[in-house]
Symmetry: C2
Subunit: 343 residues, 2 copies
């Protein structure tokens, strides 16, 4: 057995010397090293940008997923580069990790991307196209640095998975948004968007303003009924000038302090940049974001904004996100209806 690296580089087949996320192919042999954890996988939660791309490319989603995993040893969409996360039970813990607060049989969700997780699928059991989820008979490997969360006992695994999958964005918002801020959330109707809305509403307080942009009329009703924002704009987030106009209209003509992008289609960078004031923050969480479009786009219109790449990890992100579902019964009800019932 090769020397084990805490980042999992011992699993990289090609190209040599890169980290597992950048690898074209990983060794998905399911014999674990002493610093790895073997997981019996129950479900894959495919990243929304990736799942949308696959749905647009083919009608046989299962075959495409198998093709990718067989080729790469991991579920990393070659077009979007993104992965998702998984839920499963701990099958075996490497000897070096025996001091972890984890036992064989524990049900966990991995909080590192599938784009760096060695995976072997034996069979696809079901594809839930409405929630980007694929139930599988599969095994996966978690590296020493791989973060995970034990599933909570006060909610169904489907509910926890749906929230944990996007745990990064709302937790980052909790650290970012301040009282009195005006916040524009593009993609507000999605699950990440709803969690961000909820967190922003808590943070801005009575003098702030939270505006959600979503593409479906039904999402508008849902967001308003649950009190997840002050205003909803129904529009195509790729149309920067429509967004700019409508966003100003519901914010007394003023520019925003912060925009959050959790849209799952490409081409929404400018819609996130134009409505924000100079000195404001543009938080880009969509995996469909283009680095150059954002960088050159802001420069091109002379916008002095701080553009942040959404980091899927921040301290205590799992706890922060699960707490939101516990705090807000209306939000939890929406999630339970869509992603799976209560325990």
């Amino acid at each position: 057995m090769k020397k084990s690296c805490k980042y999992g580089t011992h699993r990289v087949i090609e190209p040599a010397g890169v980290l597992p996320q950048a690898a074209l192919r990983l060794d998905n042999d399911m014999t674990i090293h002493s610093n790895e954890i073997l997981i019996d996988v129950i479900s894959l939660n495919i990243d929304s940008a990736s799942f949308t791309q696959i749905k647009n490319e083919t009608t046989d989603i299962g075959a495409k997923i198998l093709e990718i995993v067989n080729q790469r040893g991991k579920m990393q969409n070659p077009v979007t580069g993104s992965g998702g996360m998984l839920i499963g039970t701990v099958a075996k813990i490497g000897s070096e990790l025996s001091n972890r607060d984890l036992r064989e049989g524990d049900k966990i969700a991995t909080l590192v991307s599938l784009s760096l997780t060695p995976l072997k699928i034996n069979a696809i059991k079901a594809i839930h196209t409405d929630i980007d989820r694929v139930d599988v008979d599969a095994q996966a490997i978690l590296f020493e640095t791989g973060i995970y969360a034990k599933l909570p006992e006060d909610m169904s695994q489907e509910l926890a998975l749906a929230a944990l999958d996007v745990a990064g964005a709302p937790a980052q918002m909790a650290k970012l948004v301040r009282p009195g801020d005006s916040v524009l959330i593009l993609g507000g109707g999605g699950k990440s968007g709803m969690l961000c809305c909820n967190e922003a509403m808590k943070r801005v307080g009575p003098t702030g303003r939270v505006v959600a942009v979503c593409v479906l009329e039904e999402d508008k009703e849902k967001l308003q009924a649950a009190g997840l924002c002050h205003e909803v704009i129904v529009a195509d987030a790729t149309d920067a000038f429509v967004i700019l106009d409508k966003a100003a209209l519901v914010n007394k003509g003023r520019e925003y302090d912060i925009s959050i992008n959790v849209v799952n289609v490409p081409g929404t960078e400018m819609s996130s940049i134009l409505p924000v004031r100079n000195g404001g923050i543009v938080y880009l969480f969509s995996m469909a974001t283009s680095f150059t479009r954002a960088a050159l786009g802001a420069e091109g219109v002379g916008k002095d904004v701080t553009m942040i790449i959404g980091n899927g990890y921040t301290k205590d992100h799992a706890e922060i996100t699960l707490a939101q579902l516990r705090e807000n019964p209306k939000l939890r009800a929406i999630f339970e209806e869509k992603y799976g019932g209560a325990v």
Copy 2:
């Protein structure tokens, strides 16, 4: 004539509705609208990532540039998406912009990317492969929101152009770096890198630490002779683990507060992320940066860092950058030797 937009959308041929930067093709008819400025172009400064890509793709750089501009109506590299900037003289100012502090005949540098600037090249006069510059007989259009700088009288146009081309990065550092910080600058040997090093040295003060990573031994000597950093690491910035080890070694084993990436080749995201402490900042200025590699890379190794997309524009960036050359004679001497002599 179509209605004129301050962002230049009236010049977009396809696809409809996008901003000029995202357009596949711009209208480069050189009849100006009332809110545009016509420029007689002297030189193009091609973005370093773009020029490197073209050099690697073909030996006939001139033909490739003409092909791109003829096809797109702007000099935007289809692979990297990036542009660069230009220097020229003001040929005509639209009637709506007559109140600008600008006259026909003024020599200016545009500070918006070539990736959104309508351009028509009549002839290529010279290609300076060592400094990514192309002298041309050409005309270009500056939009109402397009930022520019009049060229200073106390330095040669070549020198000013070389500095202004990368004005964003050092000006952002001036706002970011604080006393006592340890700063790792990847790509420290390039012109953007040297300006960043110089700015960081000013900001960190006696208790801070500035470490440059460069790929050439000669750059190490240059940086040290000019006192532009405390330590230099000569290594390939795509090799994340080598960078991690060497960076720790010259920082007393400690992680860095800030890393700045101004490397002009792809695949250096993890080298920027791994050496930085949790809670630290990773500033990505390279146009070769991949959004997904950065976002998923940090998550994959559980790094709680703030990753910022380098914005080529920030308030007063031209002044901040030119001031550096005036303040530091050694830095100015290096720039003059490489990019062009004193006035």
